[in-house]
């Protein structure tokens, strides 16, 4: 018997909202410890140089300076997938903004003054900024020692004596033959600049090196256990000696995944005699020193029949990893196995190269490479549709994955994958696709419509796992302990709903830790990839079942019936059919006490776990295998109005459909869609790093790097959440948090073609860019 859901699916408000609206929520940014020192950095003014001399004598003489470190003091390399990065630059600098010297002092003012007194002599060396140049022979090598770097073997394939940190190949069928014999072919190139995540809380971390060798860390991180593990690997410390606290985190979007500032504050604390050291990145450092989203250069060839069936797709993706590719290699991998879009492609070849350059380095960013590759794919699909004389929606409909198709890595598409075509149809309907836009009020404005598909699966190791503990309190309420981080997505509220549903408790009687602490909250890999409600959801379901088993066992003894005859409902347990005899959970939570004083049972504590199932490494030469725990599909439909005098684009409406499988919390899911769409509009219209000839970032501030403000909202946003269940998802759910951002630029680019008849190939679609293209075409009125 399936019972109607009482809590899952409801728009339960965030449990942490009251703390956040009162200013009492504590972030790493806000924390202070007794005796805490403050750190500041000297960063490199050069994109590529030898460090000839570091003179810290004047800085060290400043009263209040407690520790000064340079790369020469620190012979370790950091990384999750590719250990290619130093804590502080050693011997050479590889990007402008790279940390070279760090100071810990009594106050931030003293630390900054000390940094000004540090003298570093550099000998600039030849740099390379364009990854396509970096792939040419004779290009300067950003990492001459690449060969010696430890990396995840069998998954990533760095090429010695080149700038290629990873080459991901996908091979299916015979792409060259299929393109050669295709009735219609198309080749197009596309570009994405590097962009910044822009969490409102910049990266912040505190560490204290304790006298017995233990380390305590407080950090604005998405990854408490990955921080702990990598600290262990890097410094050779037992895991149990490292305790990582993650308080509230002011936004992450991927930029706070993996290891970031934690090693820096740890070595400073050690050097300062074990006093806690705090470092908070300035906004400029957030842009210029901490990691960004990689740039991408795509070349895409498509072959199709005249009837509109894709027969082949060949793509080369050249990623601008910047100076370090620790996380970038996995972006290049994940975006390759998704790199043909959500289409049935019988012959496919993808080469994805992650290439070092002398620029600020890349990492995970919401969408993990998919916004970038789908900028090209979804624009190319539109171009191909026009070449075929087909409506772009109809061309997609004829090629979207359907049951029985195989993906480019050989996975069979099933009904459990969801329905991409329903996403397409939903957004097409919402923007009245096929009906021309109503004419704009001004003769200098043009309107157009565009659509684009999206898909993404979590990119994670094949053995990614997660766990949860649920403790029942004296009053019968439940406390969930997890180490996934809720940095805004709402996953904690969703887990409370799941526990409430499973334990038959009211939502107000289910609590969850608001911060993570590796000493007490159980293992989770890291909070990335839209996987936590899925994996954490499973772990919570299992933990709740464990609690129920314990409750039933105790209640069964009390009532003298078999445990399976005990019903748990309304925070109480009773023999089936006899609800009037119910014992409240509070009388069982710590053990049941008989009238004579005898007690049975004991504190109810359940644990649950989940591990990725059935995933395989991809075959090195073909990319065949099973990389994805689940796929989430979606689509955007957009109508734009372009001002041909200013180049400004206004989004009149945008409809965004995601096949969520099951919506676990309607309000929070809607929040993810709206927030993702607006972030996607930022990538589409304004955001992108600009560098000067010497590789210096020209726009590391909100004045020069515009993100969407309240003034930039579309006139209308229509989130559409479809529910074609994921059979192995909790309640049928799949992840949806990253997806709404993906393909927003593609849909806008397609609408822009509809409005202006101009093919835009590079982002952002800024007013300057639009005006320049209009002038080129001579259509400027």
């Amino acid at each position: 018997m399936t019972r109607a859901l009482s809590c899952v699916g409801k728009s339960v408000p965030r449990g942490d909202a009251v703390e956040k609206v009162t200013g009492s929520a504590r972030y790493a940014h806000d924390l202070a410890l007794p005796g805490m020192l403050h750190a500041a950095l000297v960063t490199s003014p050069h994109a590529s140089a030898r460090i000839a001399r570091v003179d810290v004598a004047d800085a060290a003489a400043l009263p209040g300076v407690r520790a000064i470190l340079a790369g020469a003091n620190l012979d370790v390399r950091l990384g999750l997938y590719m250990r290619d990065k130093r804590i502080l630059a050693r011997d050479v600098v590889r990007y402008q903004g790279e940390p070279v010297v760090a100071v810990a002092a009594d106050t931030l003012d003293i630390a900054r003054e000390a940094c000004r007194r540090v003298r570093v002599e550099y000998e600039p060396t030849r740099a390379v900024f364009d990854p396509r140049d970096a792939m040419k022979s004779g290009a300067p090598l950003v990492h001459p020692d690449l060969e010696s770097y430890a990396h995840l073997e069998g998954v990533f394939f760095p090429k010695s004596n080149t700038n290629v940190a990873h080459h991901q190949k996908i091979r299916k069928g015979d792409v060259d033959a299929a393109i050669a014999s295709a009735e219609v072919t198309l080749e197009a190139r596309f570009d994405n600049p590097p962009v910044q995540h822009v969490p409102m809380e910049t990266h912040a971390a505190i560490a204290q090196a304790l006298p017995d060798g233990r380390v305590e860390i407080w950090t604005s991180s998405q990854s408490p256990y990955t921080v702990r593990h990598l600290m262990s690997v890097v410094f050779g410390l037992p895991h149990a000696s490292i305790r990582v606290h993650v308080p509230y985190v002011g936004g992450g979007f991927g930029g706070k995944a993996g290891l970031n500032l934690e090693p820096l504050v740890y070595v400073l604390s050690k050097a300062a005699g074990g006093r806690p050291v705090k470092f908070v990145a300035t906004r400029e450092q957030e842009f210029n020193t901490l990691p960004s989203r990689q740039g991408l250069h795509s070349t895409i060839e498509i072959g199709a029949t005249r009837a509109g069936k894709i027969v082949a797709l060949k793509a080369t993706y050249v990623w601008d990893a910047g100076a370090y590719a620790d996380y970038g290699v996995n972006v290049g991998r994940a975006a390759a196995y998704s790199g043909a879009g959500p289409y049935a492609v019988p012959n496919c070849s993808i080469d994805s190269f992650v290439v070092y350059t002398n620029k600020v380095y890349g990492t995970a960013y919401r969408g993990f490479g998919h916004l970038e590759v789908l900028w090209g794919i979804e624009r190319a699909i539109d171009q191909m549709a026009r070449k075929l004389g087909l409506d772009p929606a109809e061309f997609r409909r004829r090629n979207l994955l359907t049951v029985g198709d195989t993906t480019i890595t050989g996975e069979t598409f099933t009904a459990g994958h969801g329905k991409p075509v329903e996403c397409l149809d939903a957004v097409a309907k919402a923007i009245e696709w096929g009906t021309p836009s109503t004419p704009p009020a001004s003769s200098t404005k043009r309107r157009g419509k565009g659509i684009a598909m999206l898909h993404k699966a979590p990119a994670m190791p094949t053995s990614t796992s997660c766990s949860a503990i649920i403790k029942l309190d004296e009053d019968g309420a439940a406390d969930i302990l997890v180490s996934g981080v809720d940095y805004g997505q709402g996953t904690y509220t969703v887990l409370r709903q799941i526990a409430a549903e499973e334990l038959r408790l009211p939502i107000d009687a289910v609590h969850i830790n608001s911060d993570c602490d590796t000493a007490f909250t159980p293992y989770d890999w890291q909070t990335v990839a839209s996987r936590f409600s899925y994996m954490g959801g499973h772990a919570v379901i299992e933990a709740a079942a464990d609690c129920l088993r314990q409750l039933r066992f105790a209640a069964a003894q009390v009532f003298g019936v078999a445990p399976e005859k005990i019903v748990c409902e309304n925070a109480s347990a009773y023999p089936d059919g006899e609800p009037e005899r119910a014992i409240p959970y509070r009388s069982l939570a710590l053990g049941y006490v008989y009238p004579n004083g005898n007690a049975i049972g004991g504190p109810v504590i359940g644990h649950g776990r989940f591990i990725a199932r059935g995933l395989t490494h991809l075959a090195p030469d073909t990319g065949q295998g099973r990389p994805a725990q689940f796929w989430t599909y979606g689509a955007h439909g957009v109508e734009v109005e372009v001002d041909t005098e200013t180049g400004e684009i206004e989004i009149l409406r945008i409809a965004s459909a995601v096949d969520a499988g099951k919506v676990l919390n309607a309000g929070l899911a809607r929040g993810q869609v709206i927030g993702g769409v607006v972030q996607g509009i930022g990538s589409a219209l304004w955001e992108g790093f600009r560098f000067d000839k010497e590789g210096r970032l020209k726009n590391p501030s909100f004045v020069d790097y515009k993100i969407p403000t309240a003034k930039d909202l579309p006139r209308e946003m229509v989130p559409i959440l479809l529910e074609n269940p994921q059979p192995d998802g909790p309640y049928g759910a799949r992840g949806v948090a990253e997806h709404p951002m993906i393909s927003v630029p593609s849909a806008i680019g397609n609408a822009l073609y509809d409005a202006l008849g101009i093919e835009f190939a590079s982002l952002p679609l800024s007013p300057e860019h639009v005006i320049a293209r209009l002038a080129e075409k001579g259509t400027k009125p």
Partner: protein, 156 residues
């Protein structure tokens, strides 16, 4: 050092501060009022918004000495007697909070608006928070929250 006297959330404060200390540093480091956040330190993100004599300011750009003799209101003064203000309640109910880092500044900008314009138009609402950056929510729910709190904005 300069001696200043001011009121913060209705409490009299007296302090001796260096000339270069910002109001944000004074609030966070001296008074432990950490609700106002530093998102950029140069007045571009709005996360440190507080009210100075009912006018919204970015506290990172105001010196503590400039607040001498004035009335400062921060997010910590928004809830009265443990009860959320109608504006705060509207933020909770509208789902206007995700990571929460921009929220205190956002609410203070909205508070300033409601103080000067108890029934603001949508244009006024957008204008009032245009200087407060939020990377999570896409603003829609924030606008809805402020709209819902319209008419509740007099002095609590």
């Amino acid at each position: 050092m300069h001696d200043i006297e001011l009121r913060v959330n209705g409490h009299a404060e007296r302090a001796s501060v260096p000339a270069g200390m910002t109001l944000l540093e004074f609030l966070r480091d001296r008074l432990a009022l950490t609700g106002a956040k530093e998102g950029c330190g140069i007045g571009e993100c709005g996360a440190c918004t507080v009210l100075l004599d009912r006018t919204p300011v970015t506290a990172c750009l105001v010196l503590a000495v400039e607040a001498d003799g004035l009335d400062v209101r921060t997010i910590e003064g928004e809830a009265a007697d443990g009860e959320l203000s109608a504006l705060q309640r509207a933020f909770v109910d509208a789902g206007a909070v995700q990571c929460g880092f921009c929220t205190p500044g956002m609410i203070m900008s909205a508070r300033a608006l409601l103080l000067r314009s108890p029934h603001p138009s949508d244009e006024e609402i957008v204008e009032a928070i245009a200087g407060n950056l939020c990377r999570c929510t896409g603003y829609e729910a924030i606008l809805a929250a402020i709209r819902a709190a319209s008419g509740t904005g007099g002095e609590p």
